[in-house]
């Protein structure tokens, strides 16, 4: 069993409270991703698990053992750093063998393990080279190799793909996923890129300002964000928000602001009725907006003035003005739309999100 449990963990640097009451259970063999904007505490949390930062209060368990006071070397973890941190004066082989040498493995065993890791990562022909003779992608592989030779209980990844170019990043992402399937080692992965989080994670932790905002499977975060922050952070282009006031009229709930007047679908209306505040925020993802056709109910459509068009080939991203707000829609590539047109957009009723304006929590 190599689960990782973080219990009421806090980290303070003087007056700065970087990590606040984090409670997480990372299950055995799980690939857990920490995601959030910079300064949200995700890397600090990872470094606390690694033992590179002391925890101010709380507990961290690896397996069933409390590791609060264990130095990094005794935690049986391996970490991949953003800048790879390859030892520049050692060959690739020695880089990978270093951890085993430090742990007094026999020479033959070291060779066997390094060769095996090199075969998995397809870097067998690079073993004699120095890190400076490698490309970015190759360095990344060596850094991974150095982590897997030790066969640790937990892998820790600190933004390992951020230094690669876009194409290589996608390729390495796929390889990481394959590698995890093959090895099945518990992994914690820190990134600020929500696409990486969605594609790699078995579960994802969204953090902001040191607080955990939501923990869940990628699609749960996408479909049922716990608050406005998670809703805006997950998904690209980001979710549209509109502050509206709700009123009751003729048995239905109407949400209204300067440029928008829509009748909320029954299921949403019920939730809003039960909620105390009348000032709410509507959220709708760009991909849940379509150009309104004759079959769309007028209750859920609105006029939008097109201000920017982004042709991506597979879709068109349309930036429109609705009242005071900018609304982004992602529409079919075949849609006939021109700059400064007025477009009638319809929202998918089941995909409408509502949040409290003050607390920003989902209703």
């Amino acid at each position: 069993m190599s689960q990782v449990v973080i219990r009421n963990a806090n980290k303070k640097y003087g007056d700065v409270h970087a990590v606040k009451d984090v409670n997480l259970q990372i299950r055995d063999k799980e690939f857990m991703v920490f995601v959030g904007p910079s300064g949200c505490g995700k890397t600090t949390t990872l470094r606390m698990v690694a033992g590179l930062e002391a925890i101010t209060s709380g507990d961290i368990l690896i397996g069933d053992k409390v590791v609060n006071d264990l130095p990094p070397m005794d935690r049986d973890i391996a970490m991949v750093f953003q800048n790879y941190a390859l030892y520049p004066h050692m060959s690739v082989y020695d880089n990978m063998a270093f951890g085993l040498k430090m742990r007094k493995f026999e020479k033959a065993e070291i060779k066997r393990r390094v060769d095996r890791a090199a075969a998995i990562l397809d870097i067998g022909q690079l073993l004699a080279r120095k890190p400076r003779q490698l490309s970015g992608g190759q360095r990344q592989r060596v850094a991974l190799g150095r982590a897997i030779v030790r066969d640790p209980k937990v892998f820790l990844f600190d933004e390992p793909l951020s230094n690669l170019d876009a194409k290589l990043r996608v390729q390495m992402r796929v390889e990481l996923k394959k590698l995890h399937e093959r090895l099945g080692t518990t992994a914690i992965y820190v990134t600020h890129d929500q696409v990486e989080a969605m594609t790699l994670g078995d579960r994802v932790v969204v953090m902001k300002d040191g607080w955990v905002q939501q923990v869940g499977e990628p699609l749960d975060l996408y479909n049922k964000p716990a608050n406005k922050f998670v809703a805006g952070f997950i998904g690209s282009p980001a979710m549209n928000f509109a502050n509206v006031t709700v009123t009751e009229a003729n048995g239905s709930v109407v949400a209204e602001n300067k440029g928008l007047k829509i009748k909320l679908p029954d299921e949403v209306a019920q939730r809003v009725r039960a909620h105390s505040s009348r000032d709410i925020t509507l959220g709708i993802r760009p991909e849940d907006l379509t150009v309104a056709g004759p079959s769309d109910s007028p209750d859920l459509t609105f006029d939008a003035a097109v201000e920017v068009l982004e042709q991506l080939g597979s879709e068109i991203i349309v930036d429109t003005r609705v009242g005071d707000a900018m609304i982004v829609a992602s529409v079919e590539p075949t849609t006939k739309v021109k700059l400064h047109d007025t477009l009638r957009l319809a929202m998918r009723p089941s995909r409408l999100h509502v949040f409290d304006q003050k607390t920003e929590a989902a209703i």
Partner: protein, 283 residues
Amino acid sequence: MIEGALWRKWVFFYIPLTLFLIFLLFPFYWMIITSFRPDGELYRPWNSVNYNPFWTWKPTLEHVHYLLEETLFGAWLWNTTFIALVSTLISITCGVFAGYALSRLNFPFAGSLGTGIFITYLVPQTLLFIPLAEIIRNYHLGDTPWSLILTYPTFLIPFCTWLMMGYFKAVPKELEECARIDGASRWQAMIYIIIPVAIPGILSAGIFAFTLSWNEFIYALVFLSSPAQKTVPVGVTSELIRGDVFFWGALMAGALFGSIPVAVAYSFFVEHYVSGLTGSVKG
């Protein structure tokens, strides 16, 4: 490099470069030519007939013979080498550890301590030699190599510490963290990872320290008195200038042979030395 027409290259690059080289190298040329010029030419007035101050047609080894046979130059050379090597070694060792501690271990006042160490380097030796002379006398170290081996680190250690601090700061913190996760203790991480990576920095600090102690004059002049104990800079100037008589040929020969070891040290390590100064650590 300067782009454009050829004349621009000459005016802005080659001509200034040539002037600069002449300015830099002329003293060395003068030193060499004087070492091999017979006394008859050296002491002739500058406006005498058939006199060319920049060249000699009758090179001679008489000054070199005089320097090597009539003075204790060999002993001076040995003294200087021994003193410079040992004090450099002491200073580098202390400087590496102190620099590592000041740049990597978070302890209270690490920053101000670093500045403090640098300030001690700025205290002029012309002030410091007076109290140091008292100490040397009390410990009966006067006129021995140890009087210099123990005093040179007073300015070499701050210098090496400061240089190494800067170098260690440029070594990514992750290297050490990674080593510690890989199973190394702090000490092992320093020995196996940080110090090997810092070799260019250590070499340049070493060359600097070696040059500083090789050329040091005031302490050597004050603390050493018998001719056999002297270092090259002091020996040459005190034994080859007698009263107001300058033995120019032998003086210059002494200066020439005294600067060769430093030149060799520089040229031997020049590559490391440059990368040490520019602090390039690439992962």
